[in-house]
Symmetry: C2
Subunit: 562 residues, 2 copies
């Protein structure tokens, strides 16, 4: 079956030129760009006055952060021109191990958006984490056999790289020997330490937040993934990278992006649009959004409107605003007049399905599980910093006589992290300041990176009910006076749902608003802040299922400080 | 073992910048570029005032055309800054098949120049050829297992590609499926025919002789290999490709280069030098000569002076003249003060060695083998065109009464192509005009692409003696009055020798001069012109072991034309 796109202006990412040309597609491939006529094709699409450019590629995204299945994510991303993504299934791997990765591969088969994967390099993220799995080099190596697996994902363990940790190096060397890309993650690393890290073969970074950092990394041979996600938004600071000669060494990514932002602002199209708004060349931005991502991962014959390339392409009404009319992937029109053509999710292997749907392994919680022993006058309290993921340590005198030390007047709430993968019974308990909740409790199974159950509350009973709800349904929940006020189930690994993007965005809004109703100030993102309270790689004090961790010293510390 | 290159200015091919920086090498790898001190290293090299740039890569060369073994070629190329080549062993494959390719792989193991290979795609080159082997997709596929095999070599059979020849497509699809590069060879192909050819996945071309042809191919996604060899010299015509944005899609190659030119003018350094002389940026040219070749073939961590990259680098006294002082490959100093450090050839598998040293399989020739039957008044004669590889058809009346039709007055010499691979006894006989030889005979085992024995002479006896000499020793020979006047043995497949570059250049000069002494005008390159008289893909009339071929019609034709 041959299709002809007739009358358009083609963006050429090899020469940065525009040319009036017709595009001939046969099956999934572009087979001609030039003076073709309707006689050459079975189907003719008139795109007179419009632009044709390659589909956009997100070079680094965690699907789990969208809370959507690959299918529902595709429905959201396709109208924004995303024809391929490179996903790092780091979160589900922390919950379900290799089977979690296999689930993601299976759930993204044969959908109209092309989904590639890099393999999680750091599961668990830290030795303090109690995750659902520990992945060593030999565990992930067989997954490279899948042609959609294109690399090793963000190597966050830079001390492991620099100081020669054998397990870390084995993962890197496997990827290199198999000919796969090794992606990096090393915020602020520079100079000789960066040299050591890059020397291992780590060929990209998506954590640059200022231009000097980015330029140093480019000079040392790394590709820079310019990231514009939901929380981390680096585009404005990295705008000079859209200029020559740097643009040839950059690609565009979102990393973590919420469905509401995907719907409201867009995806990679949003980054291109913002770059153009800031005076950058649309053709350069499109090149960075397409062929350069493909080339970074060695994905051949993808990312350009040229003969032999996969027919992943966009029809734009306007170049500067990236106004997308139609989208083609694998030669099929999947967005027509801004509307995504319907498609269904692939059938998933029942064993994998069962694994991800049954990821909670812990006993029902009782009130006593939330009780903190009185062992001294003062405790270490985690202090939330509004608008940031870092936390501070605060020493507070605890009033043990009332409500087991919880004091909403002083904004001292109770915090619990409950191991939920191996039924160890481990529960880390403590106090948190800065959330501002006056009533009820909230709980979630999204708590980086191990995704144990995390709960913050004003009383033990609401916390218990909230945690037991998560144990059953996953997701986020808000409880007050023993009743569930709002909830969003995430049954797939406690991380994802098969609801649509619109539905999940609405549910997410609901649970958020419920917490705001408890007096939490709007500068706090309650569930996001809570989700990072357990990640012991971000300074300076965090809570795990085994208790508090001093991140700077990388050691466990006691709740009590006398 | 750590080495420090101290005080130099480093050429950065990622940013097109120059920066004063010290380069730290550990074993075969660069591990740091920056403020390192002698304390960081075991060996310190002072390169104050000099430039450090990545080693040069020839993206397409036939080693056999140099007549040298990989070892001797490396000795010639290293002082010119060539640290890696991508070789297409097309000629030896036509003689010895897969074993010929294996010999080349074996003979290029562990030498100080890094030798990669693309696999010959067209053996034999045409259906008229009687080569030593026919290579199908399944024959060459196992060779991709060798990590130094990076692609499928120049697909010359463009009709086969365009008209869907299954055997041709199988070779292309194997390479693509294994993730290897597919190189092209399609002079003058354009428009819809080019679209079809490129659509197969053929990602480069090295046959562009004018800028419009090159730009069309770049626009269609092909990389252009800018070629400056011995016969084909396209640099001047393709100079605009050194400009933005085209330079990002180009690399530098020599294709066929004689040792005398390598010694006198240089190799890839010569192309860089010529580009600079013509006003192009030396940094751009160096980038095209290094990282861009590596990236085209997916050879990671090669082609830049950056952490993690293989320490293949050059120390230059001057940038514009590309004056090379030292060369490092795999972290070892292999050229020091313009002198190549001594090294020996690798030990070669005895079975492979025996195969390539015993490639002549034909009976001793007798006088009657050279006799042309009198069958008519007029014959088709091949006419040589000075300075070109094409030939023309000429109809001449033959004087059968004297010297079996040979007539030096009218410059009608006898031509024989003698099958030498399978002892078939096939001998193609005819007449040739334009060589201008007045006495003796010359013969060679270099006759494209099947490398049968080719002989041109003024009498049958000298022709017989010349051909029998080649049958024993291979190479080129000149005979007069029954005596060998000059000879250059090429015992390895009849194509190569283990003599040094200097020795072979001198021997080559000798045989050439011996032919010039027979009255051949200097505008003729006698052995080169003769070598292409048998290649039935170049218009318009050629001689094979089964007789004349009309190249334009692609059919056998009779010697006699009445």
């Amino acid at each position: 079956m041959k299709k002809l796109l007739c009358g358009g202006t083609v963006i050429n990412v090899f020469t940065d030129e525009m040319e009036k040309a017709n595009v001939l597609i046969e099956d999934e491939k572009i087979i001609g760009v030039g003076q073709y006529t309707p006689d050459d094709a079975d189907i003719v699409e008139d795109v007179t006055g419009k632009y044709i450019c390659p589909g956009f590629i997100d070079g680094h995204i965690h699907i789990e952060s969208t809370m959507l299945t690959p299918t529902e994510l595709a429905k959201l991303c396709l109208p924004h021109g995303t024809t391929a993504i490179v996903a790092d299934p780091h979160e589900i791997a922390n919950v379900c191990g290799v089977k979690g990765i296999e689930y993601m591969l299976d759930a993204s088969r044969e959908i109209p958006m092309n989904v590639y994967f890099t393999l999680p390099s750091c599961v668990p993220a830290t030795p303090f984490d109690e995750s659902g799995a520990e992945l060593y080099a030999d565990d992930i190596k067989p997954l490279y056999d899948n042609p959609r697996v294109v690399g090793l994902a963000e190597m966050m363990n830079y001390p492991g790289v620099i100081f020669g940790d054998k397990s870390v190096w084995a993962k890197i060397n496997d990827a290199i020997n198999i000919g796969k890309t090794v992606d990096g993650h090393a915020p602020f690393l520079s100079g000789k330490a960066l040299d050591k890290y890059v020397s291992a073969g780590i060929s990209s970074d998506h954590e640059c937040s200022d231009i000097e950092e980015a330029l140093e990394k480019i000079r040392k041979g790394q590709k820079i993934m310019i990231r514009q996600g939901t929380a981390a938004r680096n585009l404005v600071d990295l705008l000079p990278l859209f200029e020559e000669p740097y643009n040839h060494r950059c690609l565009l990514v979102t990393d973590d992006r919420h469905p509401a932002d995907l719907m409201k602002e867009g995806h990679i199209d949003n980054i291109v649009r913002l770059a153009v708004k800031n005076g950058k060349s649309p053709i350069t931005a499109i090149r960075m959004a397409s062929i350069q991502a493909a080339e970074h991962f060695g994905i051949r014959y993808v990312g350009a409107v040229a003969p032999g390339y996969r027919a992943d392409l966009l029809v734009l009404n306007d170049l500067d605003t990236v106004d997308i009319e139609d989208v083609y992937t694998n030669g099929e029109k999947v967005v027509s007049g801004k509307k995504t053509v319907e498609f269904s999710a692939p059938e998933i292997n029942s064993d994998l399905q069962e694994t991800v749907l049954n990821s909670f392994r812990l006993k029902e919680l009782t009130l006593s599980d939330f009780h903190i022993e009185e062992k001294g006058e003062k405790c270490r309290v985690i202090e939330i910093v509004p608008g940031q993921l870092i936390t501070k340590e605060k020493i507070e005198k605890i009033n043990w006589n009332e409500n087991n030390g919880i004091d909403t007047e002083r904004d001292l709430l109770k915090l619990a992290v409950i191991e939920r993968h191996k039924n160890t019974g481990h529960i880390g308990l403590g106090y948190i300041n800065g959330i501002g909740m006056k009533s009820g409790a909230m709980a979630s199974s999204v708590s980086h990176d191990s995704h144990n159950i995390i709960v913050i509350g004003t009383n033990d009973n609401d916390m218990m009910i909230a945690a037991n709800h998560i144990r059953q349904f996953g997701g986020n929940v808000v409880v007050e006076n023993g009743k569930i006020v709002a909830q969003m189930a995430l049954p797939i690994g406690g991380l994802m749902t098969d609801l649509s993007g619109e539905e999940i965005a609405k549910a997410n809004e609901n649970v958020r608003n419920a917490v705001y109703n408890f007096g939490v100030p709007k500068e706090i993102e309650p569930f996001m802040n809570m989700a990072f309270v357990s990640l012991s790689v971000i300074p300076s004090i965090k809570m795990t299922a085994q208790g508090l961790v001093d991140v700077d010293k990388q050691e466990r510390i006691s709740l009590y400080c006398d």
